[in-house]
Symmetry: C2
Subunit: 149 residues, 2 copies
C-alpha cells in the first residue's frame, strides 16, 4: 500500500515538466528514498542504492538530492551531527525529536507550536517563512512519574 511505483512515476512527470530526465540513477535513488522510513544522509542513501547498482556514484546521489530538493520532492535537514539528512516530502509538515542516546529520530507536529512561532515572529516585526525546531531528549523510564522518584 506504499505506492512506491506510483510515487516514482509521479516524480517522473514532475521532472519531465522541468525539462529534466528520468535516468536509471534517479529512479534507483527515488526508490531507495521511498523505501526509507528513517532520515538517511547522502552516504547512507548511496550505500543502499549502490547495493542495487554498483555503477552508481556518490556525486550522483548529491546531485540528485539537490534536484529533488529543488523539485520539492524531498526535504533536507541538518541535525546536530552536521551532515545533511533527507526524507521524502509527501507527508505534512512536522518537526523532529532526536533521542540523544540512540540517535533515533521521532517525528511530531503541533499546531500550537506552529502558531506560537508565527506569533513570536510577528511580534518581532517578521513574517515567519520557515523554521527549524529540533528537540533533543532522553527516553523516560516507564515507571517514573512526573516529579521526584
Amino acid at each position: 500500500m506504499t505506492g512506491i511505483a506510483q510515487r516514482v512515476a509521479g516524480f517522473e512527470g514532475q521532472l519531465k515538466d522541468a525539462g529534466l530526465r528520468m535516468t536509471q540513477q534517479r529512479r534507483l535513488i527515488l526508490r531507495v528514498l521511498a523505501e526509507a522510513d528513517d532520515h538517511p544522509d547522502a552516504k547512507g542513501i548511496f550505500t543502499r542504492a549502490f547495493a542495487l547498482d554498483p555503477t552508481l556514484s556518490l556525486s550522483t546521489v548529491y546531485r540528485t538530492m539537490k534536484v529533488l530538493e529543488t523539485q520539492g520532492a524531498i526535504e533536507r535537514h541538518a541535525f546536530e551531527d552536521g551532515v545533511s539528512r533527507y526524507e521524502h516530502a509527501d507527508q505534512e509538515h512536522h518537526d523532529h525529536l532526536i533521542d540523544i542516546e540512540s540517535g533515533e529520530v521521532i517525528e511530531f507536529s503541533s499546531d500550537a507550536i506552529e502558531e506560537l512561532q508565527r506569533r513570536i515572529a510577528a511580534e518581532l516585526g517578521y513574517e515567519l517563512v520557515r523554521h527549524r525546531l529540533e528537540l533533543y531528549g532522553r527516553k523516560k523510564r516507564p515507571g517514573v512519574r512526573g516529579k521526584k522518584g
Copy 2:
C-alpha cells in the same frame, strides 16, 4: 558598563580551576567575543583577533572555542549556512530569528514556547534535554497590517 575586563578576569579564574592556562591568545579571543554583539563564526573571530595580534592562528581560535564551550563560557550554534557561530553565554537562554534577507540574527525568548516543547517531549515519552529553535523570517513592511493589504 559592559565589564569586558571583569568578564575576562572571570574566565581566567574559571580556566585556572580547570587546570587550564590563561594565555595571550585566549585573552585576545575572549576580548573579541566579549566585544561582539553578533554571532561570528571562527573565521570572523579570527579576523577580528588577527587584526590585534597577527601571530594568532586559526587553529587556536578553533581550539579556544572548544575549550570555552566546554567551560560553558560560550555557546555554539549552527544555523542554516552550516558553519558554527559563537556567542558568549553570560545571558539567559534564548532562541534565534534569522532575517532571511539580511542574515541578521535577532534573539528572543519565550517561556510559553519552552514550556510547550517540554510538554511535547513529555507526551512522546521523553525528557527534554535541550532544543534548537530557529525562525527564518522576512521583515514586515511598517505599513502592512495583519491580513490582506
